[in-house]
Symmetry: C2
Subunit: 192 residues, 2 copies
DNA sequence: CTGGCATGTCAACAAGTGTTGGCCTACACT
DNA sequence: AGTGTAGGCCAACACTTGTTGACATGCCAG
């Protein structure tokens, strides 16, 4: 039996398939991204895709594995948390098309939407809980509305004024919003 | 020749097709909403759809005609504009599934995304221009990020904490955000 | 009644989909 | 050397899609 020391040759093509899948799921969505196109983009036969990932559903699940990499906010001053998150979102989104694949697919595909909710529940919600235990779940939901709204209009719909904003502008505008959602008073419950 | 006084009988089925199309485009997105399913939902033959609307593309265009019905804000006090818009969004969204059809389709379908940008340019942008001429286009874009983000998380992804918020909570949380985007100072340009 | 047009149905086409099984090739081990 | 096996390709399957053309049915004018 071959040793597992330096990885089998198949691991390379498996990774090539995953890269192609992420790219096509991101640009075309779940249904338009065909197995044949993914295979062609990876330079192999469609049957290979089925060999390594059983079916399209599981291929997507493997390609849509995603870590938000929410930064540790313990060190940052409380009043800068909003800006910090806004900046992080921009940075995280630009380098990785996985989240776009997930977002595009989640809109029409059940499993992708489930995954999105799962990421929310296991990654965003706990992070918010650490910052603002009071009404944490609602606050996390509000952050999601603004952050995903930015992603939708900027990377998917490409609304001109939103794509035109540079990193600094996004941080300057969205920072205060996120700050308020995270640490602002609960409406109707102003501090006395 | 038949008089056009009371509309031809075909207008009824044409409207039935449009209603079914809106419903299926809204719940399934562009590619998953098949002509056959739309026809079945309308209780007629698939060929009828082609007779009345040439092809799927044009059927969608007809079904996705949409008016945001942005209320006239001349009467409302300037500091309540944000809350007013937030409330209007919730109301407008619940009664009409056309916008959901548009949103779901826009994510994977080019023409739908174009339509979305067009609605932004012809309906939202002018309304913002009337309120805040300074930096109006950017402000309109920011409003779009928050409003579409709410729509996405609440009606499409159905993130539990977002669907759990009632109308009042949405207005209370999003109102100030929209207010700031519309009438707040331009970041880095605070009034002296 | 008879023609003609609007309204509708049926069956089929060509293309594209996910998926499968058989076959080939090259390399690692004995 | 021979051989087993992992990696890869080809052709085909069953099915669904948008779309089309031929054929039926009703209704109104003459």
């Amino acid at each position: 039996m071959a040793s597992t020391i330096k990885g089998r040759r198949s691991d390379a093509t498996k990774e090539a398939i995953l890269a192609a899948a992420r790219e096509l799921f991101a640009s075309d969505g779940y249904e338009r991204a065909t197995i044949r196109a993914i295979a062609a983009s990876a330079g192999i036969d469609p049957a290979m895709v089925m060999r390594y990932f059983e079916n399209k559903e599981k291929l997507f699940a493997a390609a849509a594995e995603f870590d938000l990499r929410i930064p540790d906010l313990a060190g940052t001053p409380r009043e800068q948390i909003g800006a910090r998150i806004a900046g992080h979102v921009i940075d995280r989104w630009d380098g990785d098309e996985t989240l776009m694949a997930l977002l595009r697919a989640a809109v029409t595909h059940q499993a992708a939407a489930d995954r999105m909710r799962e990421i929310f529940a296991t990654q965003l919600r706990p992070a918010v809980l650490a910052i603002a235990p009071d009404e944490a779940v609602t606050r996390a939901g509000l952050v999601a509305t603004q952050v995903l709204g930015l992603a939708l209009t900027r990377y998917v719909l490409r609304l001109p004024p939103v794509t035109a904003m540079d990193r600094d502008a996004v941080v300057a505008w969205l920072g205060p919003t996120l700050q308020n959602y995270l640490t602002g008073p609960r409406p109707g419950h102003e501090a006395p």
